[in-house]
């Protein structure tokens, strides 16, 4: 009962946060973010309550006798509620500083709160109509947020996003109505009861449609094209929410419909998910590497991480259809763990990027550099984010990737040779993405934070306000904690894993994560302790044996030329060049070099070098389709030629046809 009070309390706070800035845009604007800060805590508590496996019918309001709002929560929703709440908390703290001198604060406040509410609604909705309404509401509000600055390009990005997500919703709607048709129920619980009545073929269609529909929102390749355009267009606190939790609602949908409702399916479902995941991971990170726009880069890396999440989920599905439920539980744990982690570090990274953009007024890495000296804290938090997302030990990304590796190895136990082959190959793909991720984040951090400032803006960048730093710091702390206490973290959502796979993965100990099945284990905590002590020891010993350290400061090695300017640094483009060349088959890159001479051919005045990569899916899949539809529409347009006689002719023709065929 108290949980309900907590729930309504949080709801109230968000609604208040949405309404107050509408009334007093100027003086009360702070409350637009203070209320959600508290509300997030309330919802976090509520989520925990659900996670301790207390399914709860929250409320049911009827729209018509046919349709009604039904809100229900169980362990699965609890997990996602927790995610949203954690990120919401830090993002609202961050936003207090971030939105200080932003245009139309009032509207921002309203949209911010309603956006979060709609995400909660999606997670908690208990029947088809509620889900659809909250889902589309979420999409609309995010569309309005993407186009918040009302510029042309963000408008076009928003348009692409809105159209794609709408088409996705069409698929979801169809899947739902198929389920309804064959079970006769509109609410998920009822559908789950009667799920055995569904013929296998229909199940497959529902699976495909659900994957397409929710995958569009999650941003799986090749349905990802909206993501790298829409996320950067939004204000950074919103991009953080979108990348951190909104795309996770797609994952939630897949879990809810495919894993929870449809239950264990044929093996190829899981394999399909694994393949999609591997593809998204590899292509996402490949495209990320070539991006010099910081936020766009992060958006692409979100695609990669969604892929990794799907790898875990797919592995679990494969194992489940082979009847290995404990292993499938471990795989599912991997997937959910990475979902949590991605929420934490991607949220953190977007907030960091927001601060950087806020300080340098540019999204382009080539115009940054040397920021680590000007904004040390931001740089530090960004580094933590990068280390976590690169899955380096001691931080959370590592744990989930390790689990994912194990999950993929388990798939070797499955019956079919396809799974036997696919699983390790996608493991290799995962290793590839790991290495790529390291390359990417070395590039991002190295180019934009290290070295010398590359532009005027970068030179006068200032450290951001305390609230923004606090928001980031909170997330960084979480990254570390979930990194070294995997046991606790897993216990936290073991109930939802149980709900999804019917089995339980009990990991032993606090800092240790062991797997009896393969007599293998990791213990991030001991890693942490040992490494810290080694570090201290190393410093100490070097002091002793090296004696007093003598350091002279000078310029970097400049090969004898008078002085090294910032323009001589390695650029982001140059950094990625070897990789671009290596994978030019995938990038379909075109390089243009233009040399202008003072005296041909000896004295080159300027050398202009451009290297464009071809966005494969946009160019070869989406463009033709849209062109086709447009040309079709253009043909139909001639119906309305403006000639009255022709119109009369239509009437006659219609009548004649009717007379011939229908009488």
């Amino acid at each position: 009962m108290t949980s309900m009070y907590i729930y309504y309390f949080g709801l109230l706070l968000f609604i208040a946060g949405a309404i107050i800035p509408l009334i007093y845009p100027q003086k009360m604007k702070r409350f637009a973010y203070i209320f959600p800060t508290v509300g997030a805590c309330a919802f976090a508590a509520f989520g925990m309550y659900l996670l301790f496996d207390h399914p709860l019918d929250i409320s049911a309001v009827s729209i018509t006798p046919l349709l009604g709002f039904v809100f229900r929560g169980d362990a699965i929703s609890g997990f996602f509620i927790l995610l949203i709440s954690i990120l919401t908390f830090s993002v609202s703290v961050y936003s207090m500083g971030y939105t200080k001198n932003m245009a139309n604060k009032g509207v921002m406040g309203v949209l911010f709160n309603t956006f979060i509410l709609s995400m909660y609604a999606v997670i908690l909705s208990g029947n088809v109509i509620t889900f659809l309404i909250s889902w589309e509401t979420m999409s609309i509000i995010s569309y309005l947020l993407v186009t918040f600055d009302r510029e042309e390009e963000s408008a076009s990005a928003g348009l692409l996003y809105a159209i794609m997500t709408h088409v996705g919703t069409a698929f979801i709607l169809t899947a739902f109505l198929l389920l309804y048709k064959y079970t006769g129920h509109m609410d998920f619980a009822g559908i789950k009861e009667a799920t055995n009545d569904i013929p296998a073929g229909i199940k497959t269609i529902v699976f495909v449609f659900a994957v397409i529909g929710f995958g569009t929102k999650a941003g799986i390749v090749p349905l990802h094209t909206w993501l790298p355009r829409a996320h950067p267009a939004a204000p950074s606190n919103i991009s953080s929410l979108m990348s951190g939790v909104m795309i996770k609602t797609g994952i939630y949908g897949i879990l809810r419909i495919v894993v929870d409702i449809l239950g264990v399916g044929p093996e190829w479902w899981g394999i399909a998910i694994i393949v999609i995941g591997a593809m998204s991971a590899v292509l996402g990170i490949l495209y990320a590497l070539t991006e010099n726009d910081m936020k766009r880069f992060l958006a692409y890396s979100s695609i990669e991480n969604i892929g990794i999440i799907l790898l875990g989920i797919g592995a679990s599905m494969v194992l489940a259809s082979n009847g290995l439920h404990t292993l499938s539980a471990i795989a599912m744990t991997a997937g959910l763990y990475h979902t949590l982690n991605h929420t934490l570090f991607k949220g953190l990274l977007f907030l960091g990027a927001g601060s950087v953009v806020h300080a340098t007024h540019s999204k382009n890495m080539e115009e940054m550099g040397g920021l680590i000296k000007l904004m040390p804290y931001t740089a530090f938090f960004f580094l933590i984010g990068s280390v976590s997302i690169c899955a380096l030990p001691l931080f959370n990304g590592f744990v989930s990737e390790w689990l994912t590796f194990q999950a993929l190895l388990f798939d070797f136990k499955s019956a079919s040779a396809v799974a036997k082959l696919i699983a390790p190959m996608s493991g290799a793909a995962l290793a590839f993405t790991g290495a790529m991720a390291i390359a990417c984040f070395v590039k991002v951090f190295g180019i934009s934070f290290l070295g010398m400032p590359r532009s005027q803006h970068a030179e006068n960048a200032k450290e951001t306000s305390t609230s923004m730093l606090a928001g980031m710091g909170f997330l960084s702390l979480f990254c570390l904690l979930t990194g070294i206490f995997p046991g606790h973290t897993i216990k936290l959502f073991s109930s939802s894993v149980f709900l999804l796979t019917g089995a339980d993965y009990s990991s032993s100990g606090m800092g240790i994560l062991s797997m009896r099945e393969i007599s293998s284990s990791i213990s991030p905590l001991s890693l942490f302790i040992v490494m810290i002590s080694l570090f201290i020891a190393a410093v100490f010993l070097v002091r002793i044996f090296g004696g007093k350290r003598k350091i002279t400061y000078g310029n970097s090695w400049d090969s004898g030329i008078p002085s090294l300017t910032s323009r001589m640094q390695y650029t982001a483009t140059a950094f990625t060049n070897p990789i671009r060349v290596t994978f030019k088959k995938i990038y379909l890159s075109k390089r243009h070099t233009k040399v202008s001479y003072a005296l041909k051919p000896y004295f080159a005045k300027a050398i202009e070098y451009r290297d464009d990569i071809t966005p494969f899916f946009e160019k070869y899949i989406y463009q033709p389709v849209t062109d086709f539809i447009h040309s079709l529409a253009g043909k139909v347009k001639h119906l309305q030629s403006g000639d009255l006689h022709l119109y009369l002719g239509y009437i006659l023709a219609t009548l004649i046809l009717l007379l011939i065929f229908w009488s």
């Binding site: 309001v61 729209i63 018509t64 006798p65 046919l66 349709l67 109509i129 659809l132 309404i133 909250s134 889902w135 589309e136 509401t137 609309i140 186009t147 009302r150 510029e151 042309e152 963000s154 408008a155 076009s156 928003g158 348009l159 809105a162 159209i163 709408h166 088409v167 069409a170 709607l173 169809t174 109505l177 198929l178 309804y180 048709k181 539809i629 447009h630 079709l632 529409a633 253009g634 139909v636 347009k637 119906l639 309305q640 009255l644 022709l646 119109y647 009369l648 239509y650 009437i651 023709a653 219609t654 009548l655 009717l658 007379l659 229908w662 009488s663």
Partner: protein, 494 residues
């Protein structure tokens, strides 16, 4: 009974008063008061008619739940238009585009138009219904040609010719029905719908089929089914904005009412499938054609006109699918469309009178010029394409569910595809209007003008309708549900 007479006479009186006055403010007040009284009276009439149908004039007129429902739609739209006209016409007047004389004509014709629609809705005698519809054509054609430039005159000419020709076929259908009835009750036939319904199942089916075909062509053109819709985009785009709102909000519903009435007779005699399939066919064709025109469109008023064609198509599909939920959804869709589409026309009208153009690519950055209006315009554009949480989504979802219940997957998938295309078209065009750098000089003009009373009224009605749009998307009040249910009973039979 007397209430209904009153209801019918109020618009006439208002029209006469408007015509007889020479002072603009006075005319505006008369118009507003007339509309208000009409609304109040209509409430009593409708609530009275819900319990049992009311007959009068030797059964030539009557109101049952169905006509009460359509009546309420007509009244709502008329009142909204009456309020908005004050804003729109006032601005036209201040911009020296029209003079008092034309304002007189406008309001007089407006209320005459409303009268003809009310007459159509409450008539039981199908011949009188037909005549009322024909007279709506005549009156509204004068309104369409109101600003007497080349394009609008041409539009009204096409309108009058096409509708008259198609209505001739409508009358043909009526004759045939009369003949059919005369074969049942020997000697003298009847034209009263209620009596026709009682004897419908004994009528010769072939005859009734023929009659329904002609009726479908006759009223279908008026309602705006493709491919006999061609007058509609021209008329909607050339008429003054309030008139366009009235045409799409009320008139198309009246014409569709006629089709429903005859479909009921057809169902009684031929079973639900015959008329149903025809309606579904027309609905799908209309959606398809409309989607193509919406996707590549340069003129935002024409865009809205085509979207009206699409929505008539959706209503037809709902009716055609039939079954309780199909009809329920179709009727609900009538109301939702009658709220959202006029709202869109109003907002677009604001944009038009600010930018002095109806071309989409000549409008940029409306969000900066008219913050409130264009925000609502964007939301309404999303709503009209069936996006939750707005009202249209509910009715469309109901219709889709009905399609699924009937196992009619072809209709379902075509519906979904066309709807997606239309969504893309709408969002692209309206997005390009709303966002970007404004291409006219502005400094929060809406804010500046908001002090003027007229604009307050215009903005007020826009906001109110937007709120209704949202509320109906989240909850359907009990009384509405009741009236819908009883109308469905009338259509589907007990």
């Amino acid at each position: 009974m007397s209430g209904i007479l009153l209801l019918l006479f109020i618009p006439i009186i208002t029209a006469i008063l408007c015509y007889s006055s020479y002072n603009r403010r006075e005319i505006e007040y008369i118009n507003l008061i007339g509309a208000a009284i009409m609304a109040i009276v209509s409430i009593f009439v409708i609530s009275a008619s819900l319990s049992a149908p009311i007959f009068f004039f030797l059964g030539m007129f009557f109101i049952d739940a169905l006509s009460a429902y359509i009546l309420s739609i007509v009244i709502i739209v008329s009142v909204a238009v009456a309020i908005y006209s004050v804003n729109y016409m006032g601005r036209e007047f201040e911009n020296r585009l029209i003079n008092v004389k034309e304002i007189r004509h406008f309001y007089a014709l407006l209320h005459l138009f409303i009268f003809t629609m009310l007459l159509a809705v409450v008539s039981n005698n199908i011949a009188i219904f037909w005549m009322a519809i024909e007279s709506t054509t005549i009156v509204s054609s004068l309104l369409v040609g109101f600003d007497k430039d080349k394009a609008s005159v041409e539009a009204s000419w096409k309108y009058i010719i096409l509708c008259t020709v198609s209505l001739i076929f409508g009358l043909l259908g009526i004759f045939i029905i009369y003949y059919a009835s005369s074969t049942v009750l020997v000697g003298d036939g009847t034209l009263n719908w209620t009596e026709l319904r009682e004897i419908a199942h004994d009528m010769p089916p072939e005859t009734l089929k023929l009659a329904f075909l002609f009726i479908l062509v006759g009223y279908g053109a008026k309602a705006g089914f493709a491919p006999i819709h061609n007058w509609l985009p021209d008329a909607y785009s050339q008429a003054p904005t309030p008139v366009s709102a009235l045409l799409t909000g009320a008139l198309s519903k009246c014409a569709f009412l006629g089709i429903i009435r005859f479909a009921i007779l057809g169902n009684e005699c031929l079973g639900v499938s015959y008329c149903g399939n025809l309606l579904m066919l027309f609905g799908l064709v209309s959606m398809g054609v409309a989607s193509a025109f919406i996707l590549v469109q340069h003129n935002f008023k024409r865009l809205l006109a085509y979207s009206s064609i699409e929505h008539i198509g959706i209503m037809a599909i709902g009716m055609g699918i039939g079954g309780f939920w199909g009809i329920y959804g179709s009727l609900l869709h009538m109301l939702n469309h009658a709220i959202v589409k006029p709202l869109l026309f109003f907002t677009v009208g604001e944009v038009k009178s600010k930018y002095h153009t109806t071309l989409i690519d000549k409008v940029k950055g409306a969000m900066f010029v008219l913050p409130v209006t264009s925000t609502i315009m964007l939301l309404a554009a999303l709503a009209i394409t069936g996006t939750p949480p707005f009202s249209i989504f509910l009715s469309e979802f109901t219709i889709l569910k009905a399609a699924v219940d009937a196992g009619n997957w072809v209709t379902f998938s075509l519906f979904i595809i066309f709807a997606a295309i239309i969504f893309a078209g709408f969002l692209r065009n309206f997005g390009s209007m709303v966002f970007g750098k404004p291409n006219i000089d502005h400094d929060g003009q809406e804010k500046k003008e908001i002090v003027k009373k007229r604009n307050k009224m215009g903005l007020g009605i826009i906001v109110v309708m937007a709120v209704i749009m949202l509320v109906l998307g989240l909850h359907i009040p009990g009384f509405l549900d009741e009236i819908l249910k009883s109308s469905v009973k009338i259509i589907a039979g007990e």
